[in-house]
Point group: C2
Chain length 384, copies 2
């Protein structure tokens, strides 16, 4: 089991307008993507990996000259890893509206020759999937061995199974949910309000003003981050430990930092506010909020999934209170009602929602076993 | 059972400096308070009610000419109510640092003749209790029949039992905790960062600039409010209901309000930012973070509570994820280890942390029964 090594992103431009769920269209756009492994002769070994809120097409490997630039799912994807790039041709694609390369709010709107800013259209999970399907067309991939994602990425995998049933044989949905709860939406709206009310947001036009709504992004990230960690894990890692424990171990009696958890969260917020785009944050939280495939079926997820034909692997983590196991079970139950083949793993892991990104042995083994099954069922196995 | 009717606040000035836990002292200060019922001949029927984050001395009744100005625990306190003002003399006192009358950051610092602003000292639960004890002295109350509070108010009741064991016969601690968890502190710090990074906070000196950090306060309140409600209750009340459900029932595809829960939370945030003081919010969240009576006993709550002599009533609510039943059970266990008499009620209520403010029948009956017991044990019962 070794790392995938040096990788480099590619870009593909699409000149045909992409009609969007919210009305209107994106006239001209570029998707940035990476691939790992080799597409086999009958193009049957492709796996699409969809990213979550703050990730990108850079799923695995590192960039030339930047050894710290490891992909976000490097533990999952690589030679000999659960999603084995010696067997599968893996594609990571950056979604529209992102700030990591694909067309987003910081890019020039060809119609105005100014950055889109807040005028970038609100895109949905379904819009992303439609754009990903065009990339698959361009790469000559008629059917994926699997479409896979965690959290918001899992929503994309689920949307694939509904929108393009015959274009994937397996759907891998990890730490996800068929729709956000009121509490999930509430946390997203706190984050949005923090950004929108930062004077440096400038109505989304901050690029032109040479500023960045760092304070808003920072608070948005802090509140988001709390929901990614489990209560128990936070208690164990930080508890009520003081940052100055080694020195005075005393309260400071001011509004600076007393506790380790404050130091950690502020650091996470600061770091995030330095690289993430505020308009992208708004767009992605909206895509999360809007996702609800059961909506046009009177709230019936069973009916929404009736059109699917893929086999499913669904996994959740016991301490995930953002998208709890209960939410994954809703998906499983709707699939079972449709007599779909579904494998469900509820993994006892302490790390909350973030567990889907971490290298838990049982989790990794279950994904590995599932890909082994996909591999064994493939008529043509060899890579090209 | 009737309402307490028209009430009016009183104020008491203290000229002797109050030494504070964080060092220094408050030279001269005023406490605003209200009383309901009548103090009996031997002054044995007094009950002190301590308030939580955004409440005040105005516990029950209404103000003259303002029928909507009902006290925050009006369902609990009044003639024939669980805490029966026909039997008990009830005192509600506003804490130092508040924005509802007692000396706080918006008042003039006699040393500078300018508002304290951010220079108002960081006060602790123990400082509040010390100030409350002086008010009791001034009112001639040597021993309370009970000190009672919910949430942060419960922390004050607990602190009373430790700091002044012989000044209360009963300690009533509802929906509280012996200390905040890392997650609790994290949410408080998000709120503080939202306020501190609002340019209108002006380093705490916003009074002089004629502005108010409304955006920061609004976000602070929104995130706080999420933690007061249970996930299930939010799902039931709001779910994914759209605000325009009656008209188009369609997503808006912008960053305005789509969901009812967004509308509700923003409204709560807006309302709060219009009446609450930003410096007070910072101070109160710090008081919450710092409370940890076990701290000076090597983390042993049992040892911290060894000096108590009161009987205890502890209550928690099953769906409260801010201060879960587990946290109340820690208090109960430490009391049991000390062979204190403790009554514990774990109330199956759907409303999360906010349940302590609501009129749940089982909850009200249990508090009523406990005060009945207090009443029966009193040698002199009559009011003066």
């Amino acid at each position: 089991m070794s790392s995938i090594g040096i990788v480099s992103p590619q870009a593909m431009r699409f000149a045909e307008p992409l009609r969007l769920q919210g009305g209107g269209a994106l006239a001209d756009y570029t998707l940035v993507y990476e691939t790992y492994g080799t597409l086999n002769a009958d193009k049957s070994n492709a796996v699409l990996v969809c990213h979550a809120l703050n990730a990108s097409h850079h799923v695995a490997g590192t960039y030339e000259g930047d050894p710290k630039s490891t992909g976000w799912w490097n533990s999952m994807v690589g030679p000999g890893k659960p999603l084995d790039t010696d067997r599968f041709f893996v594609i990571g694609v950056n979604n529209l509206g992102s700030c990591f390369g694909s067309t987003g709010p910081m890019h020039l709107n060809p119609a105005t020759n100014k950055p889109y800013g807040a005028s970038f259209p609100v895109v949905t999970v379904e819009d992303w999937v439609a754009a990903q399907a065009r990339l698959a067309d361009a790469l000559g991939i008629a059917q994926f061995a699997a479409v896979m994602g965690g959290s918001l990425g899992g929503m994309q995998a689920l949307a694939w199974s509904i929108m393009f049933p015959d274009r994937l044989r397996h759907c891998v949905v990890i730490a996800s949910t068929p729709k956000l709860s009121a509490q999930n939406i509430a946390f997203n709206d706190v984050a949005r309000q923090a950004i929108l009310s930062d004077p440096d947001y400038c109505g989304g036009d901050f690029y032109a003003h040479g500023v960045v709504p760092k304070n808003g992004l920072r608070v948005a990230r802090m509140v988001g981050h709390i929901t990614y960690l489990s209560n128990d894990d936070m208690a164990e890692k930080f508890g009520r430990k003081l940052r100055n424990a080694a020195e005075t171990n005393a309260y400071k009696f001011d509004f600076g930092i007393d506790f380790e958890i404050e130091s950690y969260l502020r650091y996470q917020g600061d770091k995030f506010s330095e690289y993430f785009d505020a308009n992208t944050y708004l767009l992605i939280t909206k895509a999360l909020d809007y996702f609800d495939p059961a909506r046009e079926f009177g709230g019936s997820l069973t009916r929404a999934l009736a059109c699917t034909t893929a086999d499913f692997f669904v996994a959740s983590f016991t301490t995930d209170w953002r998208f709890s196991p209960e939410r994954s079970r809703e998906i499983v139950e709707a699939l079972v009602c449709n007599r779909r083949r579904v494998t469900y793993a509820e993994i006892d892991a302490p790390h909350g929602h973030d567990a889907f990104l971490l290298e838990d042995e049982r989790y990794m083994n279950m994904v590995r076993a599932y890909y082994q099954r996909i591999w064994e069922a493939m008529p043509v196995k060899g890579q090209a």
